[in-house]
């Protein structure tokens, strides 16, 4: 039996008592019924009785203790709504009107005790029916939920602090990556040997991609996963913009929406896509206009990513496993990291195809409507 149900029975008994007007707060209430008095005195909640106009009549002993009230006499006949802070007045008045119609309402509100102790209450207001079945009085059961509310407030504050910290950390990471990129740019501008300059430019570009990946994830406010299609399309746009500032290469993207992937897969995919795009931009176009096509689709339990160009194609004998350049080594390593299959073909330009399972080996990576 719940305490509120117990309280209902007790208050109904008290209200039906011919000696109504006694007891703890109102002398004589339930005095002829020791069981009712016992139940009222042992309730963990503050139980109050009002008349149908919402005037205070009675409060049980634990209620007096919860509200830190020594003398209940000044409350007698007071409008119950006046005992609440202004913020709660609308809810309190509405609940009295509903109870007078025989309806039950429930709300939670803040109301300090007369001594100023801050408290939150979970309040159930219902009617107490007379012998004729019509509402005769109004019963209010107030449960002290202050600890719960304080816990919620502390949790919200902790979450807000976490968000602020995350924002700050992200901001610092972004700035640090920008600093690294700038240092490499400076170093490159001072390099006299062309091969060294190219190496530094490639390093700067790779750091730049890492920074872009971080920036895009940071902007989305999603911390665990990403909608892969738009994410890769954005990264591709950025990479092409860096390596083809004149805009000779047209980027075509055909990326299905709603392929949601965990960051443990999405970030390596972004990096290896960037390497493949860079590879095409270095070798496929040779200063001429051309097309770079990126597609992403899901077929059943597999996701397919293709990066193709309309250049002269891969050299004879090219093998994804035997390619010795750093870019292809990075692609190979990242492909293995995400348990993907990498293949290359001429169609007729160079075309790299990456296929990976829509689920990780522990089954929690990719989902979505696609």
């Amino acid at each position: 039996m719940t305490s509120s149900f117990t309280a209902t029975l007790a208050l109904q008994a008290a209200a039906n008592s011919t000696t109504f007007g006694g007891g703890h707060a109102v002398p004589g209430l339930a005095a002829d019924n020791p069981l009712v008095a016992l139940m009222l005195d042992n309730s963990p909640d503050c139980l109050q009785l009002l008349d149908l106009d919402g005037h205070f009549l009675f409060m049980n002993g634990p209620g007096l203790a919860l509200l830190e009230i020594d003398d209940v006499a000044p409350l007698q006949g007071q409008p119950w709504a006046r005992l609440w802070p202004v913020d709660a007045a609308v809810m309190v008045t509405a609940s009295i009107e509903a109870a007078a119609r025989g309806e039950q309402t429930r709300f939670s509100a803040f109301a300090p005790t007369p001594r100023g102790t801050p408290k939150w209450w979970d309040v159930i207001v219902s009617s107490v029916r007379g012998c004729d079945g019509a509402p005769a009085q109004i019963m209010c059961a107030l449960r002290d939920i202050t600890e719960l509310k304080q816990g919620e407030i502390a949790l919200k504050e902790a979450l807000d602090a976490r968000e602020a910290l995350l924002y700050e950390v992200n901001h610092r990471v972004k700035n640090s990556l920008a600093l690294v990129t700038s240092l490499l740019t400076l170093q490159s501008s001072h390099a006299k040997e062309p091969r060294l300059k190219q190496t530094l430019d490639e390093a700067r570009s790779r750091i730049g991609v890492v920074a872009q990946v971080h920036q895009r994830l940071y902007q989305t406010n999603r911390h665990n996963d990403v909608d892969l299609g738009p994410f890769l399309a954005d990264i591709a746009q950025d990479v092409v913009g860096v390596f083809d500032p004149e805009g000779r290469v047209a980027l075509e993207t055909d990326c299905a929406p709603d392929i949601i992937l965990g960051l443990d897969k999405a970030v390596p995919l972004a990096l290896l896509t960037s390497e493949l795009i860079t590879n095409s931009l270095k070798y496929a176009f040779d200063g001429r206009q051309g097309i770079l096509h990126i597609s992403l689709h899901r077929n059943d339990d597999q996701i397919h990513l293709c990066v193709c160009d309309d250049g002269p194609g891969l050299p004879a004998g090219f093998s994804v496993n035997g390619a010795g350049g750093l870019g292809m080594r990075i692609v190979g390593a990242l492909t293995r990291q995400i348990r993907a299959q990498l293949s290359a073909s001429n169609a007729p330009g160079a075309c790299f195809d990456i296929v990976f399972p829509a689920e990780s080996k522990k089954g929690t990576v990719a989902h979505g409507a696609g």
Binding site: Q337, S360, K361
Partner: protein
């Protein structure tokens, strides 16, 4: 036939890399190979690490703490130590408690090529019970 310096042969180690970030593993492999060591395998999860260790019997395993799909490098170190494979943790968060799981030491990430090579040499000395010279910054031996 060129004569091989026995001391040099003695210093060459068979090393297993247990690291879930492929590019970090690739970089470490290049650093170690550049110093003459033999990387006998790369693993990014518990099962692969234990299997490769049994197959290749490395002289040392370099073990990251957080592995793929939530696998624990600490459990890898514990298991490999029971297989008599010494483990040097390589992580961003070194903790002396790793010693309880058998790790001979811990190298703090990020790792430079020279620090990694020096750390491997120090770990080798430690495992063999030989005097350990100056250790690189970021390395703690247990």
């Amino acid at each position: 036939m060129a004569r091989v310096d026995p001391l040099e042969v003695e210093s060459i180690m068979k090393i297993l890399i247990v690291e879930d970030e492929a590019l970090l593993a690739m970089a470490m492999k290049d650093y170690l190979a550049g110093a003459g060591h033999i990387v006998v395998g790369q693993a990014d999860d518990f099962d692969t690490a234990v299997t490769l260790a049994a197959e290749t019997q490395p002289d040392l395993a370099l073990v990251d703490v957080n592995l793929v799909d939530g696998d624990s490098g600490i459990e890898v170190a514990s298991s490999l130590t029971k297989q008599r494979v010494p483990c040097l943790m390589v992580t961003s968060n070194c903790n002396p408690m790793h010693a309880l799981d058998g790790a001979v030491g811990c190298l703090q990430k990020p790792v430079s090529p020279s620090a990694l090579v020096q750390a491997v040499a120090a770990a080798r000395q430690k495992v063999r019970g030989l005097p350990v010279g100056p250790v690189p910054r970021g390395l703690a031996l247990y």
